[in-house]
Symmetry: C2
Subunit: 336 residues, 2 copies
Amino acid sequence: MSKTNRVWRLRKRPVGEISDDVLSFAEESVPEPVAGEFLIRLNYLSLDPTNRIWMSDMDQYMPPVELNDPMRGLVCGTVVKSSHPDYSEGTIVSGLGTWADFQIGTPETMSPLGDTGPVPVVDAFSTLALVGPTAYFGLLDIGQPQTGETVVVSAAAGAVGSIVGQIAKIKGCHVVGLAGTDDKCTWIKNDLGFDEAINYRTQNVPEALAAACPRGIDVYFDNVGGDILDACLKLMNLKGRISTCGLISQYNSTEAIGPANYAMILMQRLRVEGFIVLDYAERYPEAITALSQWMAEGKIKVRTQVIDGLDNALESLKMLYTGGNTGKLMIRVEDT
Amino acid sequence: MSKTNRVWRLRKRPVGEISDDVLSFAEESVPEPVAGEFLIRLNYLSLDPTNRIWMSDMDQYMPPVELNDPMRGLVCGTVVKSSHPDYSEGTIVSGLGTWADFQIGTPETMSPLGDTGPVPVVDAFSTLALVGPTAYFGLLDIGQPQTGETVVVSAAAGAVGSIVGQIAKIKGCHVVGLAGTDDKCTWIKNDLGFDEAINYRTQNVPEALAAACPRGIDVYFDNVGGDILDACLKLMNLKGRISTCGLISQYNSTEAIGPANYAMILMQRLRVEGFIVLDYAERYPEAITALSQWMAEGKIKVRTQVIDGLDNALESLKMLYTGGNTGKLMIRVEDT
């Protein structure tokens, strides 16, 4: 195997847009696993909006990446050397790792991906390991959509949003998605079955939302915060639910701005609830079973945008905050 | 009985502080009840923060008062003429009425206060008819405080806040209140048993809160919104709950500002939920039974600030937004 170990390290915390100097990319030696550890070779690196949170020192749900440490990421890799009896060489694992060709794993940070059946490893990793369960629990547990209700989802052509909308359709809801290009809007409406799609860059969002939601909004699945959150708040029905999955419009801001229509929480007696999918770790099998079946039945379609080369990771990451990608964004280092 | 009927009518929607010209006060004729209605003489008029909402045309939980209509209020009165078989003359009723000596009631808007036992009518009306159940359901149903958790309440010397803190103490919580004068702070700490009291006008709220809540905040009962909400958001523990009862700091603002720390909802997986006590109408007996018992046992103390004269209603109302009152604010027109 190659002994070249390229490692991305955090050098600066981003202020505003992510600049090229926040991370460095250089060759280092390959680490050695000690007892209880194993060494993996990276196959796929998942690029997710939350990466920007980890780079910052804002209040967050786990410690931020320390300056000069390797950048944290959700990874899929193959065990190439092991000092742990349960992780033999060749085992494919996924979990929280780093942006590096070679890295140390432990059972606390990585677990075997298991038999993915007819599903290719890259799809299993991209959909079933993180974004699928995020959509599943965030919509169904927090949002609790009922048949006939109106569900709105932002970043609707994104990895999570595209699945949220399809699950909401399965549950018999009127589903409205917001995305940033006409191509994305066409995709979610024609291919994924959303009832309405709004291009938030070219349309007047409050007007378009009001037109697309004639009976108001019962569930808003929030990936973005900011102006779209405000527009949705304005239209929420009595006892509506807002499932707060992400606030991507805020991650690159230098100054946080709260939603001006916050008072709607009181006026309409809303429930706004944040979650992260890690809270549902014990219930993953439920989500994976349901998602696998819906995918097999063609009721849920997923799109993974794969970019080759670990050296492209930082440039690719920026797309998440500019709307440049469609579906799940993934770096391929080496296929399994 | 007197045939003088003085009526407050809404003439302008307030912008910023409430000015004297938003309402007019003039003599009118006494209305006549038709079949199914009854006429009441006003005994007590409750002044509540939500009055400012009804005056405005902001999005709200019931229609705003129409311009030139009588001002809406929570009232307690005595039936003096009836065209409804279930409401005989002399029945004491409470419900949604207007700021007027005489007014028409129906079973949809007013219901008999019932036998208040040893509790004076004014106390039963002030505590058990509205603010007690508001505190009870807002804290226990929405906040779900557990023994040993930290509960923070704003407007803690107010009608609702003072009861919230005392219920939280009964439930074994560490209770911190914010109020606007040293006298109020002394009252909630020494007389009502709060663990800590913070004068938000003279103390640095973020620092004082952090010191008073060494284990963070599990439940924040929000009466005010604004800067205090932001300071609390910053200290919320994982899976914390914010019970949104009021946003009094915002009602007089000309421009709504959302909480800058809104992202904490995501980072700490908080649940923020708005409510109004009318949603709990069917469960009132549960709250009244519990509150009556706690009051009889001396575990809950209430303070009612009674001001004589319907002509003082508008001037008195302003105190709610400037922190001028302590406890429940009430206009007495004529004792029962």
